[in-house]
Each structure stands twice: as C-alpha cells, then as structure tokens.
Amino acid sequence: MEREPLADAAVIRRVPLIAGDKSAADVTRDVVGALDAKASPLWWGGLGLSVAALILGAVAITYQIMTGVGTWGLNRTVGWAFDITNFVFWIGIGHAGTLISAILFLLRQQWRTSVNRAAEAMTLFAVMCAGLFPLIHMGRPWLFFWMLPYPNDRGSLWVNFRSPLVWDFFAISTYFIISAIFWYVGLIPDLATIRDREPGTRRSKIFGFLSLGWTGSFRVWHRYEVVYLLLAALGTPLVLSVHTIVSTDFATAVVPGWHTTIFPPYFVAGAIFSGMAMVLTLMLVARTTMRLEDYITPRHIDAMCSLVILTSGMVGLAYATEFFTAYYSASPYEQFAFYNRARGPLAWGYWIMVACNVLIPQLLWFTGVRRNLVVVFVIAILVNIGMWFERFIIIVASLQREYLPSAWSDYTPTSIEVATLVGTFGLFFTMFLLFCRFIPVIAIAEVKGVLQPAPGSRQVDDGHRGHRPGIAPETGS
C-alpha cells in the first residue's frame, strides 16, 4: 500500500539537472522541435560519410561471404584476430548504455535521464555491429540458426552447452532482446507525446500506432514504473554476465595470457570504460548539433568523466595485476606472454593501449580538463582507440607467440577486414544519425520528472504551499 518502487528517485534536488529553467512544455518543444527542424548540413554530411562507410562494409562483407573467410589475414597460428577484436570492441561499447539505463537507475543517479535514451540506442546499434563479426566468422552465415538447439533431422544433434561460444550466443541474443525491449518501453510515453502534439498529421498517425494507445493514466504509470524497475534489476546482472561470458571465450582456453581468472571483472570494467568513452563522444556531438546544451550540461559531462576515471583505474589495475600474476605464477609461458606484449612485435600496440587507457584519462582528474569539452572529446576518442587496441593485443599478441616457437606466426589484417570494420562504423553512425532525426534523443517523460519548479512560479510564491506535495493536504474536506 505505502510502497513506492521508484518514488525516492525524485527526492534529491540540489543543482538543477536541466539548465535554463525549463517547464514541461519547454521540454516537449525543445526535444520534439529538434525533430521538426530541417536537418543541418552537418547532419547530412555525417550521414553521407556514414552511408559511404556502410556501403564499403556491405561490399566487403558480400565479397568475403562469396569467397570465404580466406579473404582474412588469419593463419593457423592466429585463428582469431580482427573479427573477434571488433566483436569484443562493439559489445563493450554497448555496455555503457545498459550501465546508464539500468545500473545508474538502480543507484538513483538522476543525471542519467538526459543521456539514457541515446545511450540505450547506442547499445542496440553496437550489439548489431558486434553480432556481424561472429556471424561472418561462421563461414556459412546462412546456417546461423544451427547455434539454436532446435529439433533437427541430424538425429536432433543438440548444441554443446559446455562451450563458451554457445553461452555467448545465448548471452548476446538475450542482451539484444532485453536492451531493445528496455529501450522501447522507455520510449512509449514519448511516442505518445509526439502523437498528441499535432493530431491528424502523418507523423501523429505513425507515432499513434507505435505508442500503443498510451494515455498517461497514472494507474498505468504506476505499473510502468514497476516494470521499468524490474527490467533495470534484470539488466544489471545481465550486462555483467554478457562480458563475463565474452571473457570466458578466452579464459577457458589454455592460451598463455588468456587462461586467467581475472578476465571476467577485467573485461566488464573495460567494456564499461570503452562504452562511457563512446557515450561521451556521441553526447558531445549530439549536444552541439542538436542544440541540447540545456539538457546535456557540463554537469552530465562531469559525471561521465568521473566514471571514465573510475573504470580507467580498474582497467589499469587489471593490467598491473596480469603482469604480477604472470611474474608470480613461475610459469615461463605465462611470463613470456606478458614479456611479449610489452616488448614483442606488437609492443607498439601495447603501449598505445597503456597510454590511451591508463595515462591519458588521468587528465580528467583536473576540473579544468573536464570542463573543456573539446579536450574531453579528444580524450574520449583516444580511449576508444586504446580499448580497441586492448582487445587486439589480448587476442593477437597472445596467439602469435604461443607454446611452440615453431608455430609462431605474425598477423596483418587484409583490406577486406579493415573495410568490414569501417563498414560497422558506417552502420553504427548511420543508425545513430537516423535515430537522432526521427526519435526523441532525450527521454522526455523522464526529464520532466526531474525538472525543478522554476523560481517565481506559483507554488513557491504561495505561502500555504511550502510543504512537500502529496503528503498531507491541509484541504482534506
């Protein structure tokens, strides 16, 4: 009766989260108005570039599927390289979206309301990009459903449930489905807002169809909050499980440098680290191009920078722990794997990784740096680069110098592999730019819930309304 699943989330109000003394109507107008405005030349330029990259990727993927995975630079020693690097990279990027939508929701971090919609969309698009790589790596992607344990005419040969690759399939599929549902459920009230804005128009009809007849009934809102809380509670362990399972793809193998128990937390921290960097990148761009400076304020950027410092520290600790464990293990193979990372043929990549992931983010300790959005943008890009190299180094540097020196080999990506990576960036940014144009990038209903009453508005002026609303109305008959 008295339980309030979500209510306390709205209690703490200090510095306004949203600048510019917005009213609820202002929020609707600003966010939906951004969809009405003519697309800027910057947007068209970005879309053109993204679609060009997407077409390049589509051509490369068509070619490699018609020819075979032999178009990649893999060899018998380095059997995983560019594709798995990109897979882990994209999945990791997706994790920040779930962090913001689920974990920060449970932690009652209200600043998330300005960025959660875009971050969740980012998750969806990143998981799509990630999924492409294992799909192509199967060699016969049209038989992807063989990963599903379905009754088949091969005697009903079931999948091997002891294999981390099968866990991966279940984890990524679940992650995509739950993220998509979470995103759509969060979107329903905003779709209704657009529907009711200009009745009779084509857009109103489309959004009316998509908004499922949302009325704004509080009886429904009340349950909606429960559903949202449940999804957040399920999404939190889910996001941790997804990268844990991705890390077991490596940790259950006997390759030196992979076979360690630190991998799950190390991978999860790295995923959130890279994802926060990508959220920062996208938000800084969206803020400027979509004129959302009042919604994505320096305070939001500051909070995200703090998360980058935190996760950078965790990643740095993991790098140091790996070296210590290798030293302490007394296993010459393990020791060599790490010597090879720092001093071997890919040492340049290793040091790019350390510089971008551990050293450069330390600049964010300085308030002046966090307030300078150009510098934050550059740091975020560098972290993205560093985290890509982390996966590349873990995978390739470990495989190319395994147990048998006679089997040592080197790896260079082919143009096809590079084109595929470029193609996924094209896919990601094409989807993101289209999302920015057609769907409200700010969670309108959630932002309205964290608005401060404007100073000078009636409830502040009126002497008899100073108390907290909704608790004890003095007018009760």
Partner: protein
C-alpha cells in the same frame, strides 16, 4: 468504462497531487489521473496498491531457469550424450550461463508482455485523453460526480481550491485499470 465524468485540468504537479489527495479524502471516486510523467507521490495520493508484477517476473524467471536447466540436462545427458573432452554428461557448472540468460530473458520479456496485456496497450489504440495535453505539460484528474446537482458543485468547489485551469463534464470512454494488477 463510459459515462459522464468530471475532468479537472491542472498545470502544476503540486496542485494535482493535493487535489487528488483531497478528492480521495472527501470520498470522491477517482476514476484516473493523467500525467505527462510518473509523478512522485501520486500513488499515495490515489491510494494505489502495490503491484503484483514482481511476482509475475519472479515466476517467469523461475520458469526460464528450470526450463533451461532441464533442457540442457536432457539434451546433453539423456537424448544424445556426446563426450566432449571427457567432461561429465551432466556438466552443471557449464550449464549455469545459459540458465542465467534464460532466467533474464523469460523474466524480462514475460513481464513486459504481461504489463502490455494488462494495460490494454496495442498498436493503433487511440487515447481518449489526447485533447487534454496530458502527454505534454498538463495534469488531469478524472472523478465520477456523485450524482447531479449539489454534489457536483461541491466537488467543483473542493477541486477549485487547487488552481485548476478548467473543470468540465465529459463523456469519455476510459479503460480503467483496477487498483491491483
């Protein structure tokens, strides 16, 4: 539910909260309240009960877990046992990731589907409240007048204390959800 209802429109969160609480204390039947966002404290003002959806979620998640555990055991140890690296047929520790994922999948998807079905949400359904700007910046309290005449005017007087923008009688086809669900 159809029939005449009294719709009072407010433009401040505090007003609708106090008006709703006052109407409830006065024993007026609150048909529903329409708000652009989930107003903090409105559930108390309306006297809404707690939801049973957490139980739905728990049971669906439990079903997912049991189904995944049983199926993996049956497929790996009963229907066609295959020796993979000498591991036992019933490799329970290795089955945990898929059990966990299916728990989340069934719990999450199922809860949302149950919610959508309960709320009567479906593509193309229209909103009877579309004209009141309740998805933009207005808050609407919908009560059922006790009868005609003086009762109605006393309701109007009561609600009039909370700065309503308008109070009008309407015939609305409202789909009212029960206090529990």
């Amino acid at each position: 539910m159809t029939g005449p209802v009294l719709v009072s429109v407010f433009d401040q969160e505090q007003d609708i909260l106090q008006a709703t609480a006052a109407a409830r204390q006065a024993g007026i039947e609150i048909v529903d309240v329409f708000t652009p966002y989930a107003v903090h404290g409105m559930d108390r003002a309306m006297g809404l009960g707690s939801s049973r959806l957490p139980w739905v979620c728990f049971l669906l998640g439990l079903f997912g877990a049991v189904a995944a555990a049983w199926f993996q055991y049956w497929a790996s140890a009963v229907d066609w046992p295959i020796n993979v690296g000498g591991k036992p047929w019933q490799s329970w520790p290795a089955f945990i990731p898929v059990i966990f994922e299916l728990t989340v999948l069934f719990g999450g998807v199922g809860t949302v589907l149950v919610f959508i079905a309960w709320a009567g949400l479906r593509p193309g359904r229209s909103s009877p409240m579309a004209g009141f700007r309740v998805t933009d910046d207005r808050f609407a309290l919908v009560v059922r007048p006790l009868a005609a005449g003086p009762d109605r005017s006393s309701v109007e007087t009561l609600l009039g204390r909370f700065h309503p923008l308008s109070i009008e009688e309407r015939d609305l086809a409202l789909d009212v959800k029960g206090a529990r669900g």
